[in-house]
Symmetry: C2
Subunit: 221 residues, 2 copies
């Protein structure tokens, strides 16, 4: 039996998604973290946290923050499934580029019926990853964690394939695409400057130095 974020407001779904993302990043979901992520004032975040707690979707400890309940997590995953399936669809079937799909999926995700979700899923052959390399929760909302290594974990001389890139920032995605850093692409780490300095990589496009911080956000396999 499937939980139904469908009966939630769009705003509530967006908050759940944000809370899930923060938990996933290992960040404590405080009011300010949530407010920041949602581009909203702290009181607004507090208010929504209370509402979600009232719906049994999060556990809330005043002054401490919130944590998703099982139900809350299911709702978040449902929305994420919609988002990532749509990204996959938009990229594969309508030719949207990596930097375009996120925003479009963001718009459409709340308007996708279960029917259509299933139809799209089948049409695409039950894909497991979105175009950025993020895993798509399956129809039972199972999500494989796959917290693998990143570009910044590789030793000099190591080669790997990019498995995941950050998904939200179109400018960043265009930049990475220019450097040849897209999912599936081959990379070799040439140098890792000490003290958290830049990482120099070779891709099909050539050699490029990128910040350690950015390298840490690019997963490899």
């Amino acid at each position: 039996m499937r939980t139904r974020p469908r009966e939630l407001t769009v705003a509530a779904q967006d908050y759940l998604k944000a809370i899930h993302a923060l938990e996933d990043e290992g960040v404590r979901v405080t009011t300010s973290a949530l407010a920041e992520r949602m581009s909203v004032s702290a009181p607004s975040a507090t208010a929504m946290a209370k509402r979600l707690a009232g719906l049994g979707l999060v556990e809330r400890t005043p002054y401490r923050g919130v944590a998703l309940t099982e139900t809350g997590r299911a709702c978040a995953l449902e929305v994420i499934r919609h988002h990532r399936l749509l990204e996959r669809y938009l990229a594969d079937r309508l030719g949207l580029t990596l930097d375009e799909v996120h925003a479009e999926a963001e718009l459409l995700e709340h308007a996708l019926s279960e029917e259509l979700e299933a139809r799209i899923d089948a049409e695409l052959g039950y894909p497991t990853h979105d175009p950025h390399g993020d895993p798509i929760p399956d129809a039972e909302l199972k999500l494989d964690a796959e917290r693998g290594r990143t570009l910044s974990d590789l030793d000099e001389g190591e080669r790997a394939a990019v498995s995941r890139v950050p998904d939200g920032d179109p400018g960043l995605l265009r930049y990475l695409a220019e450097l040849g850093l897209v999912p599936e692409a081959e990379v070799e780490v040439l140098r890792r400057a000490p003290y958290g300095g830049p990482v120099t990589v070779r891709t099909v496009v050539g050699e490029h130095a990128i910040s350690r911080e950015l390298a840490g956000r690019i997963a490899v396999a």
Copy 2:
């Protein structure tokens, strides 16, 4: 330069669509007609009518009703364009049936960006009609009126092709499909009972009597 219903609330867009539909049907757009169409109380309709008038989207005469302004009509057509393009897409590319597309398009129409609209339009080869046979406003929002004849206008013995069926009621659409009354299908009128009685038609599926009222809602060419 394109008007931007995008900046309107979803509710406002839905009201504009309803007002457009009523005008199209030749109905005076009174508060009660609008309230009825929107499944909303009369005071709610009054309130929205005022809001739309304030935005310059309708001309409102208290106690008289509303009429779309040019801007209002453009916004309504923009929404209708989204709706019908999506219907066409869902039918052609995802295999949804005639009775399913309306509800899905209803959900998605407000979440469709101009970008994606253009992409879908191109993908489909700039279609002119949705799967029910309703005309799709073009990118400049021109809509061909084509107020043609209906099944109930045909004389006994006349043959024609169904050009348009009502789009909102899934049950009705399934019924019509069973009778072979779908867009493009060949029909021949066998009998027209007097005094507004039923019309008997032959389709590929056989002979069927349908009410005059229903026949009047099926356009032919």
